[in-house]
């Protein structure tokens, strides 16, 4: 098997002295969508933060992206390598315009590439194009989520990490967002998706990890996990009942 796009080994990470992750192992291949499930406080967000090295810091173990060990790299170098994150809470630049938010997404890219990516982002999200001069803070929740995705795509990532992109969005918007993720995956982009909605995540993902108390409790193909008795009981119960 060829080397995966992202390989996380024995990652311990946390906030200052505090360790939240205690040895996480995880892989994402090119063109693969991998879901990370788990209860509140399991450490999913911390995992993404530690990989991006923003807010949480790695304490031991290794993160190798595209053959490069990220240990000695600053966050901006990680973005430059092609690893972008759409964080919990979106973290937009509220007082700046939609256009500026998108352009800053390509801060580490050249001018020509930036203009080209901008055209693509507006083609993907026409409702953003109509509001390009508006302040990001003035957008609706769904539009803000689209802007967060658009901003991350401006950097042309080869691996995109998303932290609960479906939170607070109408089902139609969620479908649209997952449609875009499926499209990106088919173009070869790796996707690491943290999602509370296990039913949704397992429907789209290739593989999944279930986190508990800062470690990986279960891993497997999305199909196997969706059929797994304990997963069904703990994470899918409500969702499957709704389906019926």
């Amino acid at each position: 098997m060829s080397a995966p796009l992202l390989e996380v080994r024995g990652l311990r990470a946390g906030y200052g002295e505090l360790s939240v992750l205690r040895g996480v192992d995880l892989r994402v291949g090119a063109g693969e969508m991998v879901a990370v499930l788990g209860a509140n406080g399991a450490g999913k967000t911390t995992l993404l933060r530690a990989i991006s090295k923003v807010e949480a810091a790695p304490q031991a173990g290794s993160v190798v992206f595209d053959g490069v060990n990220l240990a000695s790299l600053a966050p901006q170098r990680i973005v430059e390598l092609g690893l972008s994150q759409i964080p919990e809470g979106r973290q937009l630049f509220g007082e700046l315009s939609v256009d500026d938010n998108l352009r800053l997404g390509a801060y580490r890219r050249g001018r020509a590439e930036r203009e080209e990516s901008l055209r693509r982002a507006y083609a993907l999200f026409p409702s953003l194009a109509a509001r390009r001069a508006n302040a990001a803070a003035s957008l609706s929740g769904g539009e803000q989520q689209m802007l967060a995705i658009g901003r991350a795509l401006m950097a042309r990532p080869t691996l995109l990490m998303l932290d609960e992109p479906s939170t607070g969005l109408a089902p139609r918007v969620v479908e649209q967002i997952f449609g875009i993720l499926a499209q990106l995956r088919s173009e070869g982009t790796g996707i690491l998706l943290v999602e509370q909605n296990a039913f949704l995540a397992l429907r789209y993902a290739d593989r999944a990890y279930v986190m508990a108390e800062g470690g990986v409790a279960l891993e497997g193909s999305a199909r196997d996990l969706a059929a797994d008795e304990s997963v069904r009981r703990i994470y899918l119960g409500a969702a499957l009942d709704e389906e019926r």
Partner: protein, 294 residues
Amino acid sequence: MIVFVLQLVVAGLTVGSAYALVALGYHVILRATRAINFSQGEFVVLGGLVAYTIVHVLHASPWIGLIGATSAGFALGWIYERIVLRPAARNGDIAVIIATIGCVYILLYGHALIWGSLPQPLAPFTGAQGQAIHPGGVAIQEQSLWVFALLALAFVALWLLFDRTTFGKAIRAAAVNPVGAQLVGIDVNAARAASVGIAIALAAFGGTLIGPITLVGGTAGTAIAIKGFVGAVVGGLDSPLGCAVGGLAVGVIEKLLAGWLPYQAVDPVVYALLLLALIVRPQGLFGRKDAVRD
């Protein structure tokens, strides 16, 4: 009478330009680091002294003095962020306040050690010391004209930087959302250091501009720092235009009061006006209401 008043207005706009530049510096640093830099006034003095050294010790032209002092201000501001503001910020807001006040004294006595404690004259940018034009009988020093023009230039340059360049927007992005900024690849530490560099460069620029009118060195820094702060609060700390107009207004009010009141009464009245302004319009003349809370 009219000529007398206009004369005071011109004098007020001239010192007010220094307050305006200090106020803009407060704005830039506040926006980038959420801190008020109390040593801003001492950097005005330092800028004037650096220009003095370049012009009167190294015998270069006043323009070289202006460029040199401004560049030195930027470099010092960058270093100041690295060795004072950033480490202090790790220990909380109070630590930052104490550190910037501590720097007032370090700079004040540092200046006296290097340049002596007596103010020095600085050569005007053009013409002889005190040379003036007299439109309608009002004397306007040539240097004052330079002060007005260069204040306008600095203001436009700031506006272009923060509203028209990607780098300037990255600095703003780092200020409004450091986490988001890091996630798009902005070096947030460098953005903060650059912001402080710009603010201190503005202070040094201001010190060089008004140096030929007010003398450079001595203990003027504290008054400039406080009046610049009054200007920023009256105009609106979150608004560049408010800071510029507020600084100019404080200068004009100060000089108008000085035309009639005994000098001991001028500053108390200026500060009383600050209190009044804070009560009537806490966000400042040009500030947004929602900016007051944080």
